[in-house]
Each structure stands twice: as structure tokens, then as C-alpha cells.
Subunit: 346 residues, 2 copies
DNA sequence: ATTAGCACTCAGTAAGGGCGAGTGCTAATA
DNA sequence: TATTAGCACTCGCCCTTACTGAGTGCTAAT
């Protein structure tokens, strides 16, 4: 149905979408003919617009206003008409000078990446940390804090470090811990945390009937250490950009948006969707509604080191978003972060 | 000057402040006589109000509106008239059931505390993590990640864990690291990180002329590990409560407030002020302006384990804030967190 | 010292009118 | 047949005007 759009209709539609993206005002027929030098009269453009409205690509907010793209309109625009620009060098430079990751903690890196994304795209930036569950185990270490308390440190293949304090109930000597550490490191390397956990559960059941106390203890200890989920982390940067958008300039919508951006779990769910597929993903309008963000679009891309550790980052803004600018920003950032993670993990 | 306030003026002023806190509307003379059953006519109340205005405790937004407290008015109210209520049991319970800290990371704890503060006070909650600089060193550990990369773990007396990756340039064996660890742990325990750093710098200078290679290496390693500041962390929870306040219901002020709440550094500076003094501190209006938060008040209190590790938490909202409710909430939370930190550090 | 009474002020709301941007339809044109 | 000029019409926006009501300050009486 949309395929029947002839070239003229297409370029008029494109002009409307782009004008609206720039001005945030409904676009009228005369404005189009003026700004774009089609050799057409406003009346002709009106006829075309009328057709586009019938197809569900445009709506007019009221009789005497111009027209604005519908959600379906944006989707069509992004899928069929969008020409993604190259990332201007100035942005590229800002990233590369700004992002020295060496020695910084994962949290700091993520915050910094979020701030970068947000300040360059001039929209709200999101960064979701790699899920610990799906990272690949490289190393475990124990540090004795006191007689009852142990610090457990996991290191993933990609250099991600997580620590946790446990109280095992037994007072392990330094020597015991060393043996346990060696035992675990030999047996668990290369599996994802999820797999490790399964394996431990399995072996614990089998092991009960045998007598190797060391193994028994090692398994119990690591079981305890991994038993609880480490909550997913998400960073949101530049929320005020969202409030500055003219489409959200009522009190109610501002509060609504802020509430949505505060409920991290919903954002996590949303970003999760895009983690499966590789490359840049675009959620327009209701496709992003999972997070109560009506009228918003999300551009997201997963990042990952060579060895697992997948996270997601993205930019969220109004549907009227400059897709051709934002998409390459997200794309480039994801690539950059992946490269950094690789470098870190050597 | 304010001391000349007689009892009647005081209670009228108190009534005005409290009515305004409840309704967010300018309070008129008739409203006062109605709601509070003073045996006075509105005219009399008007005379008193006029005096109070002259003293700078009240203003009227325009001739035909009631009056609202000035910043000075709130200050006087809080200093002289405020009766702090006991914390209702329901809040107490919500805290104590909600807050099992055991085994959780500092970040998670702080986030949870922030959420608690915010949802119970119905205002924006702030939690600033203990500054690593001022925590007391208890233990350092090294974990060998690869030939070139070491993970350094600091544990503070209060159980705070920080880690950092360094690339020392030398490939230390496990045995070397153990000796170095033992050496450092013996010599540094009980000092604050800041002191530790000074000491290392000092000894490094002296040590150059001697020949004990182990000491030399140990010092260099720990020096490198401590060289960079670990950024202060602050958590902000429930920002949408701020936007729901009627005093900030214009687009501009919403954006302004959100920008202010986003610039963490300014919030940190603000909370820093309250860290010095013990107990609950109250910043009203311009006293909190350091963070571009005009028209806001901050209630803050430091928390700390027995052994250093001082952080600050608080609640931020409009000047028209229910001080008598919020103060005990902040107070109680700070005490609770301190107690938890103590328990953790054993 | 307190109060009743009264004139006055002024934000907020509602109603009316003109403006202008934009539309849809129709009839003329290439 | 596609395009265009012309025209009546719609409707949000803004400005003005008028009204209302809450609240004040002042004055004179109690």
C-alpha cells in the first residue's frame, strides 16, 4: 500500500517530516512549497498531503493547522527514506579525546559514556551495564576480611570486576582459601556466570555423597557467593533535555516523563529487547511504550567485548527526533565502547 | 527585633506558616480566624499580619492575595517555633523491614536508602557516599589479572570496598605480591586514605636512597593505586516529587530544577557543608543556593560508622516543606544507616 | 486595644472579536 | 488528466473588556 507512493509524494512526505523535526510545528502546504522549491502550487501539495493523511502517515491536529507525521509516518520515514549521515568529525573527536577508560571503574565509564551520548545528541542518554549473569567467568578470588567475613571478587573475561561480601559460617584459613581458589579457577574458567551457577548446583548434589571436603567447601562457598543476583545497573544522563522538548511542555507530561525515566526497571526491560539483535535498533512510539514513554523514540545498540559482556546503550527522545543525526552517534558510541572493552580485557 | 514578637503574634505567624505548608496558597486573615478559632476578628489578624510583613517574615504576592512566609520567615519558624514530631511508627517499620544491608554493595545500599528517604518524605532524596579519602584504611589486597594488570582492592574499617585496575609495568609473581601485601597491611592500617597517601609519598622520597627492593616496590605499587581520586558518588531519588510541587509548575522552573538536580557536583558541594557539623542541618532558601536551587530547602544529616567513613544524606524540596515531618525522617535515617555501617564493619 | 464597615486592588475567568494560517472544494486551465 | 487559482470556511491564538471574589488598608466607633 505504501509502496504505491510515487516519487513526488515521497519527497513531499520527506520534506514534511524533516520540516517538522526541525521546527516542531505542524507543516502547511504553503510552507512546503516555499522551503523546498518544488515546482508545485500549494494546492497540489495539499492534494498529496490529503492522500498521505488517508494512508495514515500524517494527521492534522485540527482543521486549520498544518500536518504532522504519525507514528506510522515516522516508521515509514526511518525504514524507507532516511539517509543516515556520517558522523561529523567534531563529534568523533569529542568522543575520542573524552574517553580514556584505562583504570576507571565500570560505573565511571558508564556514567561518562552516558554523559557523552547525552551532550552530543542533545537528548537523554541511556547506558545499561553488562549483565553479570551473561559475562564469562575468568577468575575468582577471596579476601579474608575477618574471621566470619569474606570478600569474594569475580573477574569476567572482559575485565569487569564485581565484589560481594559473604559470611560462610566457617573460618577458612588463608591456605584453605588458596586451595579453594585454585580449584575453582581451574574448573570454572570460560563459562558464563549462569552456566557456572548451574554447574555448581549440579555438582553440589553429586558431591554430597563423596568425601572430598575441599571440593565440597569450594562448591558451597562459590554457590553462596553467586546465589543472589547482582542487580542490573542503568545510567540515565541528561533527563532535562527531554523536558525541554516542546511536545512535553505541559506540567503533566513533564511529570509523566520524569516518572518514567526514574523507574529504572522499565528502562532495563526496554533496553533488554534490543540486546538480542546486533546493531542499531530503533523503537518508535508505541514500540517503546513498554516503559510508559508515550510519544518517545529510542535508538539503541548493544556493545560487547570479544568475549561476551554485553551491555546496551542508547538515546531516548521525542518521536520527532533527528534520526539521521542520532543513529550514527549511537552506532559510533557502541562501537567505541566495544573497542575499549576489548582493549581493557587483554 | 524578632524577640519582641508577643505570644499572639507568634501563634498567628505559626498558623500562617502551617496553613501555607498545607495548602500552598497565600493565607488570608479570614482563613486564619476560621481555621484556627482564635477569638479575634479578621481585622485584628490583619493588623498583626501587617506587622509581621514589616518585620520581613511575610510577603503578599500582590495586594489582593493573602500572605506567604518569606525565607526569613521560614528560618524564624524553624528556629523558634517548630515542634519536631516523633517519627510515626509506620515509617519506622517501613525502614526497618526494608533495609537489610547485609552483603549488599555500598552502591545498592545507598540507592535503597535514597529511595526510602524519597518515598517516605515524598520529596527528593539525596545520599552521598562516604568519601574514600577520609575513610580509614584497613586492608589492601592485590589480585593478578594478567601479566601486566593488577586488581587492587582496598577495604576500609567500615567495610567499604573499592577496587581499581593498575598496570604497574613489572610482572609481579604471586609470592612477591603476598610479601608486598603483608608489608603494606602491617604499616598502613588505621590511617585515613589521605594520610596513607602522604606517608607513601614521603617514604618514597626517602626510600630511593636505600636498597630494600621489596619496600621500594610496595610503595610504588600502592602509590600508583592511590594516585587518582575516586570520584564522590551521590544518588538522587524521587526527582519527580520536586516537579509535582505547585511552586515549580512552570516549564522553566521544571527545567531549571531538573538541571540543578542533574549537576551532581553542585549537590555534592552543598552536602559537603553539612558534613562538618554533626546532627541534622537545615538549609533554607538562599542557604541552599549554592546548587542553583532557588526556593528550595535542604534537610541533611551526616552518617558514619564508629570508625570514620562519613557520608551525608538528606531530603530536598520546596521551602514550603513540612519540616516537622521531614526532619525526624532524615534524623532517623541517618542514625539507622550509621548503625548498619557499624554492624557491617565488625 | 479591638472591631465593624467600606472603598479599593488585582488575579483569574469568561466572553467577544479580529487575525492569520491552513484547509477542502470547485471550476478554470494547460 | 493533472495542475492550479480562487474562495469560503475553520479554528487556534491573542487581545480587549467586563465581571467576580478574595483580600487588603484605613477610619471611625466601641
Amino acid at each position: 500500500m505504501i509502496d504505491t507512493l510515487n516519487e513526488r509524494s515521497q519527497s513531499i512526505f520527506e520534506a514534511i517530516v524533516e520540516d517538522y523535526i526541525n521546527t516542531a510545528e505542524p507543516v502547511g502546504s504553503r510552507a512546503i512549497t516555499k522551503r523546498h522549491r518544488f515546482d508545485l502550487s500549494p494546492a497540489t501539495v495539499r492534494n498529496v498531503m490529503s492522500d498521505l493523511e488517508e494512508m495514515g502517515l500524517l494527521v492534522s491536529p485540527h482543521t486549520s493547522a498544518g500536518r504532522i507525521p504519525t507514528e506510522k509516518g515516522y516508521q515509514y520515514y526511518v525504514e524507507s527514506l532516511l539517509k543516515v549521515r556520517d558522523l561529523p568529525d567534531e563529534f568523533r573527536n569529542r568522543f575520542e579525546t573524552g574517553a580514556g577508560f584505562a583504570g576507571k571503574s565500570m560505573e565511571n565509564i558508564m556514567q561518562e559514556v552516558g554523559n557523552m551520548l547525552s551532550s552530543i545528541s542533545r537528548h537523554t542518554g541511556l547506558v545499561m551495564a553488562p549483565r553479570f549473569q551473561s559475562t564469562v567467568f575468568r577468575q575468582i578470588e577471596f579476601v579474608r576480611l575477618s574471621q566470619t567475613r569474606l570478600l569474594v571478587i569475580f573477574v569476567s573475561e572482559s575485565g569487569l570486576v564485581q565484589n560481594k561480601i559473604i559470611e560462610p559460617g566457617i573460618d577458612f584459613s588463608r591456605r584453605d582459601l588458596e586451595s579453594i581458589t585454585r580449584y575453582l579457577n581451574q574448573r570454572l574458567t570460560g563459562m558464563t556466570i549462569a552456566e557456572v551457577r548451574e554447574k555448581i548446583a549440579l555438582e553440589l548434589r553429586e558431591e554430597r555423597n563423596r568425601y572430598n571436603q575441599l571440593e565440597q567447601q569450594a562448591l558451597e562457598l562459590s554457590g553462596q557467593a553467586l546465589q543472589e543476583d547482582i542487580a542490573d545497573q542503568i545510567y540515565v544522563a541528561g533527563t532535562s533535555y527531554m523536558l525541554e522538548q516542546p511536545e512535553f511542555n505541559t506540567n503533566d507530561s513533564m511529570v509523566r516523563i520524569m516518572r518514567a525515566l526514574e523507574s529504572k526497571q522499565q528502562l532495563i526491560d526496554l533496553l533488554d529487547c534490543s540486546q538480542q539483535a546486533g546493531g542499531v535498533q530503533i523503537f518508535i512510539g508505541s514500540q517503546a511504550n513498554r516503559a510508559h514513554l508515550d510519544g518517545c523514540s529510542l535508538i539503541a545498540a548493544p556493545f560487547s567485548g570479544k568475549k561476551g559482556a554485553i551491555g546496551t546503550l542508547g538515546v531516548i527522545g521525542p518521536m520527532r527526533m533527528n534520526y539521521s543525526q542520532v543513529i550514527p552517534i549511537v552506532d559510533f558510541t557502541a562501537t567505541l565502547v566495544s573497542r575499549m572493552l576489548d582493549r581493557e580485557s587483554q
